[in-house]
């Protein structure tokens, strides 16, 4: 969609917007809970914060059906290939939220065992600081991602 001039441009834009809207409203999450952040991710899904409001309570155990991978927790050197593999198994379009200090940069564990930032392994769309980020911080990250998705075009 390089050229979007003329009357069809409007249609295409509407089409893009509509599809992106569905994507933001129905972003199914791959369960990639690793450590502390996973517990907060669960808490985000629980009654007090309710991820379901975003249509996101559908945690898919199978990465094939997931749109979003929330890397929740520290990624060890041993886990990194698995992470990459789960990412590869997800079908396009897919997004990654790096939740928490450990996933984003290694956090306070600046040592031999951890991958210092999950963006060394998979492309990350949104970083959520916090250790662990509270449910609302995570939701802010999700909203940031939704903004990002809405502003982009359909890639496929």
């Amino acid at each position: 969609m390089a050229h979007r001039s003329g009357p069809s441009g409007f249609l295409l834009t509407t089409y893009d917007t509509a599809v992106n809207w569905t994507r933001t409203r129905s972003m199914w999450t791959a369960t990639f809970g690793l450590a502390c952040c996973a517990i907060e991710m669960m808490a985000t899904g629980a009654a007090h914060n309710d991820l379901a409001r975003f249509g996101m309570e559908v945690f898919r155990a199978s990465p094939r059906q997931a749109d979003l991978m929330i890397v929740a927790g520290r990624v060890s050197q041993k886990m990194a290939p698995v992470l990459r593999q789960v990412y590869d198994q997800m079908s396009e379009p897919k997004w990654v939220i790096s939740m928490g200090a450990c996933a984003s940069t290694g956090g306070m564990f600046n040592n031999y065992a951890l991958v210092q930032g999950v963006d060394e392994v998979v492309p990350v769309d949104v970083y959520v600081p916090g250790c662990p980020p509270g449910p609302q911080s995570l939701m802010h990250g999700i909203l940031t991602l939704q903004d990002k998705v809405m502003s982009g075009e359909i890639t496929r």
Partner: protein, 157 residues
């Protein structure tokens, strides 16, 4: 406490040391006596396996030490067993036949310190990938930290 003294009588080569906080005994066991001592401790009542870990006293001889914690439910007593392991030949008998619970702990000590437990059924790396080089909890193994990223710090440039 009789449970300690009976052990002390049986093993004159073992040095006992009293610790007050928390009250318990620490046994300094020569590596040669280690499995027999553990077996004796088990029969003496310390039949619960609690903990096993390695320590690297870099500049001391023997350089490594394996620390074993046993527990007695009946006497509410603890026993800490410290065994020196020389750096040149870091080998120690495995006690997995006495305490199956030592299995993972010995693997961990092997993984992180390189202490080889002879007679262990499956002495492989446990927490680190199999192809890892080195034993990270040794003192001569670097922490492996990377510089923290800043905008204006000299390292970030």
């Amino acid at each position: 406490m009789s449970i300690y003294s009976s052990l002390a009588d049986a093993f004159p080569s073992v040095e006992f040391e009293k610790v007050l906080d928390p009250p318990q005994d620490v046994a300094h066991v020569p590596a040669a006596d280690y499995p027999e001592f553990v077996a004796a401790a088990k029969t003496a009542g310390f039949d619960v396996f609690a903990d096993l870990c390695g320590v690297d006293y870099l500049r001391r001889d023997p350089r490594f030490e394996v620390v074993l914690n046993l527990l007695s439910y009946s006497e509410s007593a603890r026993l800490r067993i410290r065994v020196g392991v020389p750096a040149a030949d870091p080998k120690l008998a495995s006690i997995t036949d006495l305490f199956p619970g030592a299995n993972f702990y010995e693997r961990e000590a092997f993984d992180l310190f390189g202490v080889v437990f002879e007679g262990h059924p499956d002495l492989t790396r446990i927490v680190l990938p199999d192809d890892w080089e080195g034993h990270p909890l040794r003192k001569d193994y670097a922490v492996g930290s990377v510089p923290v990223r800043f905008k204006e710090s000299p390292k970030a440039q």
